[in-house]
């Protein structure tokens, strides 16, 4: 105020900022909360199929990611950033990619790795090059290969010639079975169809959150409805996995029932659904432009297919997305939105 009389009733200073002066209510925390809500069906499914141990594994993972982020903020005297809920999402996603029988401390170690090595050194949320949950899973797979590949059969499950497991009995994952069965030629098409149903509902062994395609899909529909997940990456990812497995379905016939069941099976087994809708669609570690996103999804699909077909690990989703995460800068300049106005032809 240049002459004290101008503002009579108050000495409050006025705020000055660049426009606009109204903002949408959607913010980073509301987005992260929506992702958490979208993961609830998967959480329920893993509780139903794998029991209390699975839920405690989730708790261990989330506690370690959130705790690590809080501790690091404190240590480096940064403003506390756990309020954006992104570390909760990381913890949940990491737990969803773990086998249900994993010891708690391993999950916690993964959570610490995700936040302390992958996320915070790059500046926290938005700065990380690769998805922290995926990187932590890769870290666990390399560090504890045995524990990470021993799967528990769901309490109610059995299909595809796998032993009707009891809780606590380790069983091979469907992808291992599939690979062996395909290699030996010792399978029946009807088994495959049953297996697809089992995978969709979640009665087949697998990782916590990836076990039921239906649960993942419910969450994904919610995210698509909220406009948080965009359809380009999931669709191109799932589409390329489907098409490649349809063409190279192993039977030599592209139009038998089997030729369509095999790719369906490939989409539902392992982490493809979870990967496509939640991990590969993480905005921080994916390209921003439309063309970039489609290429990113296709890249994930192709690498997943190649790793499953020829790789040493039964499931390639984790590695595929991680590899594509590193390629994001390559897509940066591709498919920039069209400039306002028509393109003039050069005279």
């Amino acid at each position: 105020m240049n002459d004290g009389s101008a503002m009579d009733s108050s000495k409050t200073l006025l705020y000055v900022s660049a426009p606009p002066h109204i903002r949408q209510t959607e913010s980073v925390p509301t987005i992260m909360l929506s992702v958490i809500i979208a993961l609830v069906p998967g959480l329920v499914a893993s509780g139903v199929y794998f029991g209390i141990h699975a839920l405690m594994l989730v708790a261990a993972s989330v506690a370690s990611t959130v705790g690590t982020e809080a501790a690091l903020c404190q240590l480096f005297k940064k403003p506390l950033s756990v309020g954006d809920f992104s570390s909760v999402v990381t913890g949940l996603l990491l737990a969803f990619m773990l086998p249900p029988g994993l010891p708690f401390w391993m999950a916690a170690a993964g959570g610490v790795f995700a936040v302390a090595v992958v996320k915070m050194p790059f500046g926290g949320l938005g700065g990380n090059l690769v998805n922290p949950a995926l990187a932590a899973r890769a870290f666990l797979m390399v560090s504890f290969p045995a524990a990470m590949s021993s799967f528990v059969q769901p309490a109610h499950g059995t299909l595809f010639g796998m032993p009707r497991g009891l809780d606590g009995v380790t069983a091979a994952t469907p992808l291992v079975y599939f690979k062996n069965a395909m290699a030996s030629g010792n399978y029946h098409p009807l088994d495959l169809q049953d297996a697809v149903t089992g995978l969709f509902l979640g009665t087949t062994g697998g990782c916590l959150g990836a076990t039921s395609g239906l649960a993942v899909l419910l969450g994904a529909i919610f995210l698509l409805y909220r406009g948080i997940a965009r359809f380009k990456i999931p669709l191109s990812f799932l589409g390329s996995v489907f098409i490649l497995n349809w063409i190279f379905n192993g039977t030599g016939d592209m139009f038998s029932t089997e030729a369509f069941v095999v790719p369906l099976y490939q989409i539902l087994a392992g982490g493809v659904m979870l990967g496509a809708f939640f991990l590969a669609a993480d905005p921080v570690t994916t390209p921003i432009t439309a063309i970039g996103r489609v290429l990113f999804g296709v890249g994930c699909g192709v690498i997943t297919f190649l790793l499953r077909k020829f790789g040493g690990h039964p499931d390639g989703v984790c590695w595929a997305i991680l590899l594509m995460n590193f390629c994001v800068p390559l897509f940066d300049g591709l498919g920039r939105p069209k400039r306002f106005g028509k393109r003039k032809k050069r005279e």
Binding site: A18, P19, S27, G124, R339
Partner: protein, 448 residues
């Protein structure tokens, strides 16, 4: 006629126009003390021709245009010049201005129109009158009106567009203007059409219910106004940006360095053509304007006819503003207006709204960019604000230029949708200024 949206991107903020949409325009009593800036347009400030102690009357010229991009300033009240100096300015922080004391006698200088029916007047005669009346684009841009009335002979104008879309939330000034002064405004449109030699005149109107469409459409039915066509547009922000309006109405493309004249179109704001009509027919220069006062802290929001130079304090007091809750005062609209630091800041010819907010949005709490792409999808100009702001932040001005930062029209759609609450428009403005400075330096460097 109901046209499609016609442009990609854009946003749908809550419009909140109901609190003032039905409030008739009231006259704000001119205050005792006014600050009349010599800068109420784009371009350099006008040259002040009065000095301390001078007695002036309403409509008297107190500053003359200093260049073709400058416009004359007329006294909004009768009274005495208290001082000439630098005073708060709604856009530029500080600017040369005339501080005046109102004697309350409301004495006018002699004012007269062009002295004959405008239909018979020579276009140059009309343009001279408009130039002398200091009329500028009143939709916020402030381009002196005559610059958009004298087409280059190799760029003939065939379409005149009158912008009455008012896509800013909360603002209802043009809506009330169209309802209460439809015929005067349409006359103004016909005058401009004649001056430009345009084949057609389109009035772009906000087509939402309760909009100005019905009153304008019925006015257009009169035989006098048969040459004018109303076009109803679905509300979408920023529909009223010049390039976007031209694209929607004519499908012609105006890329930022070009102007509407390059594709045969001229866009004038509804308030501008009303001012033109009054200047040409009655000889009233631009010393008052209609604006909307509102926002969460204003107890009785209104549409007001305000003299230029009226401090924002007087405007807000008249509308019973709760100053204890007010944290931010915005002149212009909520999307594009400028936040003010001082209550002395005067209303100028381009101020279409005054708003008092209790929140200090854009939020103080800010998150990192998560690369969600909402800004890209909201941008009507096809830019990538998420990349541009990082270039500006890291002072990589060359990169910002390569990614076409100069195309930005500063509409604020990107910042509105940003979930990380980044002040994207701030970075765009800063980046454009730095880019212009870099280009200037490069040119002077070459000359040396």
């Amino acid at each position: 006629m109901f046209r499609s949206l016609g442009f990609r991107g854009g946003i749908h903020p809550p419009r909140d126009k109901s609190s003032t949409a039905d409030s008739p325009i009231e006259k704000l009593p001119p205050p005792e003390r006014l600050i009349v800036p010599a800068l109420q347009h784009v371009g350099p400030p006008a040259r002040i021709v009065v000095k301390r102690g001078d007695k002036v009357r309403i409509g008297q010229v107190i500053a003359e245009p200093s260049s073709p991009e400058s416009a004359a300033i007329h006294s909004p009240v009768s009274g005495t010049v208290l001082s000439v100096g630098n005073f708060p300015h709604p856009r530029d922080g500080r600017a040369p201005a005339v501080e005046m004391e109102n004697d309350g006698r409301e004495l006018f200088v002699e004012m007269s129109g062009i002295g004959k029916p405008w239909q018979d007047a020579d276009p140059l005669e009309i343009v001279d009158k408009i130039l002398a009346s200091g009329i500028v684009g009143m939709g916020g841009a402030g381009v002196p009106a005559q610059l958009k009335l004298m087409p280059n002979s190799d760029k003939p104008i065939d379409t005149l567009i009158i912008n009455c879309t008012e896509c800013e939330p909360l603002v209802t000034a043009d809506l009330r203007l169209a309802k209460e002064h439809a015929e005067e405004m349409l006359t103004g449109a016909l005058i401009v059409k004649k001056v430009l030699g345009a084949k057609r005149a389109l009035i772009a109107v906000d087509g939402s219910p309760g909009g100005a469409m019905s009153s304008l459409a019925s006015a257009c039915k009169k035989p006098d106004f048969s040459g004018i066509e109303t076009v109803s547009l679905k509300p979408k922000y920023p529909q009223s940006a010049e390039q976007i309006l031209i694209k929607t109405l004519t499908k012609r493309d105006v890329r930022p360095p070009k102007t509407g004249a390059d594709v045969g179109c001229v866009v004038h704001n509804a308030a501008t053509v009303l001012a033109i009509s009054r200047a040409v027919i009655q000889g009233i220069p631009a010393f008052e304007r209609i604006l909307t006062v509102g926002g969460p802290c204003v107890r009785s929001p209104k549409n007001l006819l305000v003299r230029t130079g009226t401090p924002v304090n007087a405007v807000l007091h008249y509308c019973e503003t709760d100053f204890t809750r007010t944290k931010k005062i915005v002149m212009g609209g909520p999307m594009r207006g400028m936040a003010q630091a001082e209550l002395d800041t005067p209303v100028i010819k381009t101020t279409y709204g005054v708003f008092a907010f209790e929140s200090m949005a854009p939020a103080v709490l800010r998150y990192n960019c998560i690369g969600c792409g909402r800004c890209m999808r909201a941008c009507p100009m096809g830019l990538l604000p998420s990349h541009l702001w990082k270039f500006v932040d890291k002072n990589k001005i060359d990169d910002a230029g390569r990614w076409r930062i100069e195309d930005c029209i500063e509409c604020g759609s990107c910042a509105y949708v940003c979930p990380s609450k980044i002040n994207l428009v701030h970075y765009m403005m800063l980046g454009k200024k730095r880019l212009a400075a870099a280009v200037r330096d490069a040119v002077t460097g070459e000359m040396k």
